[in-house]
Amino acid sequence: MALLDIANLHAKIDGEHGKEILKGLSLKVNPGEVHAIMGPNGSGKSTLSYILAGKEDYEVTDGSVTLDGDDLLEMEIDERAAKGVFLAFQYPVEVPGVATMTFLRASLNAQRKKRGEAEVSTPDFLRLVKDKAAHLGINQDMLRRGVNVGFSGGEKKRAEILQMAILEPKLCVLDETDSGLDIDALKVVSEGVNALRAPDRAMIVITHYQRLLNHIVPDFVHVMNKGRIVRSGGKELALELEANGYAEYQQDAA
């Protein structure tokens, strides 16, 4: 059974005259696979990530999404998180006054509780964070600062990957994780993501640029346009897109 099964998904912005953004999107993702989703601005890539996470600004009008066979669309945002859905935000949100360390621990324990697992002990937690943070070049000072407050673009993205590493999700959705990163930061972040590739974990990597996919090499590449997947292929599809751009797909769909 696929880990994630999206079938004929239609969704619009919430509200009476909300614009339809997803227009019949289907995608199956198996455990262990990394899928890249590429496409021009406004094709619905970020919307897809928000809908998977359960953001309340959208209304699903048709189709279905299941995770491990369970109806994902019926679940609350935090329930989905506890079931293993993790969204690495394109623009991580600031939470002033809440130390990153505190936030990590509150998140982890909230998820564990929902799954009926015991809370992690303080020494175990500190060890876990220390280990994972070191790999991402995150120092103690950053862990003491407020969540994303005063972080540079690169620091924010590294902090997202740290959260992902601590929470150990089943399905990682990375929304333009490469945006705002210089080449060195891109390398650190990609290495962090690659370290998390595992047979029981799947990833959806959303990006504009092929550049990221040199570092995080996908098993499948999908081209999205106007709310649908218009072409799928292997990693070489990304190179083709890099050379030719999205123009041909935009014309096709028009």
């Binding site: 935090d78 969204l87 006054g97 998140s107 909230a110």
Partner: protein, 490 residues
């Protein structure tokens, strides 16, 4: 931080609109006849076996009060209070002189429910389990029922006792300082308090003494239709230091109850007083029925050079709060501080802030206020910073932040700044923000439910002030914040 987790647990374990201190204790009481007259004042004074001068002081206040009008400038509204429909004195029946063992077991049980050990033995056990030693004075309705660690404190020369006893035992000290910071004529509620105050705490820390433990008073209003008018007087003599904490709770009742306290602090040369409040009076139900009217005058006088007074308050209770803990910076190089978290939910109304009055040279003050409004509540910060002509080099830094939860509540900031001195430097910063949908979504995507997420965001917002509280109370306050915001999301 485990405290955050506890907050989260606390939120989860509670139902909406629950006030856990809302119980009532069945005990026999002795009350003054209902209503307010010279006879009431004489009755209270006689009950306390007060000397003649104290009675005269009260009567003068009462006569003055008759000529005054209730203030109406605060941003709060409430039906007129019928001052003749209240009891001004209510005391548990007991033998006149008693030890802790004579206290009505029901009262001891009440304080136990509130988590306040009155028996020193119990408090000492608290130390064994890692707690800090705290001396407690417990005030039940109109009288102080127990003061712990009296002996140990007196070895250090610290006087900590009910003010009604201090009037008899240390009349010279009381005479010298009572009303010297908040004059009898100060304002309507302070004048009323001066006429009818029944009990409260008295603290005197002698020269050069650092008080060996935290002092604390727990106020409990129990009786129906009873006003509580406590009076607290704290004096830190030259070079002394004391940290004092007050906590307050009351049963849930449909009618409003009046609480009009006066707190006076005096810090002489090089002395420091730290005064913390965790105010959790019954706030009324979700429709605004019942709750305490908390009309309180608190003022500290930095009378000596290099003295320091610091107010920290966590205000979560009361239907209406009208309260401005202030500092008069009279001594040269003296310092005043005000750290406040004021949370309003349901139909609560808060009008609170501070006054920093710079009189001496090179005086400095700092104000950090965090207002959080949820539900249908209104939350106003009102602050005054002034520099006298002679207050050269006066400095103030003010930061008031407001956080709104939902779109039916209001936050207001009303700062007054007056400087008669060109060398004064006053800085004022203010922000108003909302818990954004993006913040909530982000936290929930990481696994926190809406209330856990809100508690976490709010705790982050108030962190600067929580850090000022003594450790064990900070944890308490953090829990209280979460509980106060129960039902504010979703």
């Amino acid at each position: 931080m485990p405290a955050v987790q506890e907050t989260v647990d606390q939120v989860r374990s509670l139902d909406v609109d629950q006030y856990k201190y809302g119980f009532f204790t069945e005990i026999e009481t002795e009350k003054a006849p209902k209503g307010l007259s010279e006879d009431t004042v004489r009755f209270i004074s006689a009950k306390k076996n007060e000397p003649e001068w104290m009675l005269e002081w009260r009567l003068e206040a009462f006569r003055r009060w008759l000529t005054m009008r209730e203030p109406d400038w605060a941003r709060v509204s409430y039906p007129p209070i019928d001052y003749q429909d209240l009891y001004y004195y209510s005391a548990p029946k007991r033998p006149s002189e008693l030890s802790i063992d004579d206290i009505d077991p029901e009262i001891l049980a009440t304080y136990e429910k509130l988590g306040i050990p009155l028996r020193e033995r119990d408090a000492l056990l608290g130390i064994a389990s890692g707690g800090t030693k705290v001396a407690v004075d417990a005030v039940f309705d109109s009288v102080s029922v127990a003061t712990t660690f009296k002996e140990e404190l007196s070895k250090a020369g610290v006087i900590f006792m009910p003010i009604s006893e201090a009037v008899r035992e240390y009349p010279e000290l009381v005479k010298k300082y009572l009303g010297s910071v908040v004059p009898v004529t100060d304002n309507y509620f302070a004048t009323l308090n001066s006429a009818v105050f029944s009990d409260g705490s008295f603290v005197y820390v002698p020269k050069g003494v650092r008080c060996p433990m935290e002092l604390s008073t727990y106020f409990r209003i129990n009786e129906r239709n009873t006003g509580q008018f406590e009076r607290t007087l704290i004096i830190a003599d030259a070079g002394a230091y004391v940290s004092y904490l007050e906590g307050c709770t009351a049963p849930m009742r449909d009618e409003n109850q009046l609480h009009a306290a006066v707190v006076e602090l005096v810090a002489l040369d090089d002395a420091e007083i730290k005064y913390s409040t965790v105010q959790n009076w019954y706030p009324g139900d979700k429709d605004g029925k019942g709750g305490i009217f908390n009309f309180v005058t608190k003022r500290g006088d930095c009378r000596g050079d290099r003295s320091k007074i610091s107010w920290t308050q966590v205000e979560t209770g009361s239907a209406i709060t009208w309260k401005y803990p202030s500092c008069i910076l009279r001594g040269d190089n003296s310092q005043g501080e005000f750290y406040s978290i004021a949370i309003s939910n349901g139909r609560q109304q808060v009008d609170s802030g501070t006054k920093m009055i710079h009189l001496g040279k090179n005086t400095s003050s700092r104000i950090i206020s965090k207002g959080i409004a949820a539900g249908y509540s209104d939350n106003t910060y009102r602050g005054l910073v002034t520099a006298h002509r002679k207050a050269t080099g006066a400095r103030n830094f003010t930061n008031c932040d407001s956080l709104l939860i939902g779109d039916k509540c209001g936050a207001h900031t009303v700062p007054y700044i007056e400087s008669k001195n060109s060398s004064a430097q006053f800085e004022h910063e203010a922000t108003t923000s909302k818990i954004s949908d993006d913040q909530l979504f982000y936290c929930r995507q990481r696994g926190l439910d809406p209330e856990e997420a809100t508690a976490l965001i709010v705790n982050g917002f108030v962190k600067d002030v929580l850090q000022q509280l003594p450790m064990e109370f900070a944890v308490e306050a953090q829990k209280l914040i979460a509980v106060s915001l129960e039902g504010s999301v979703g």
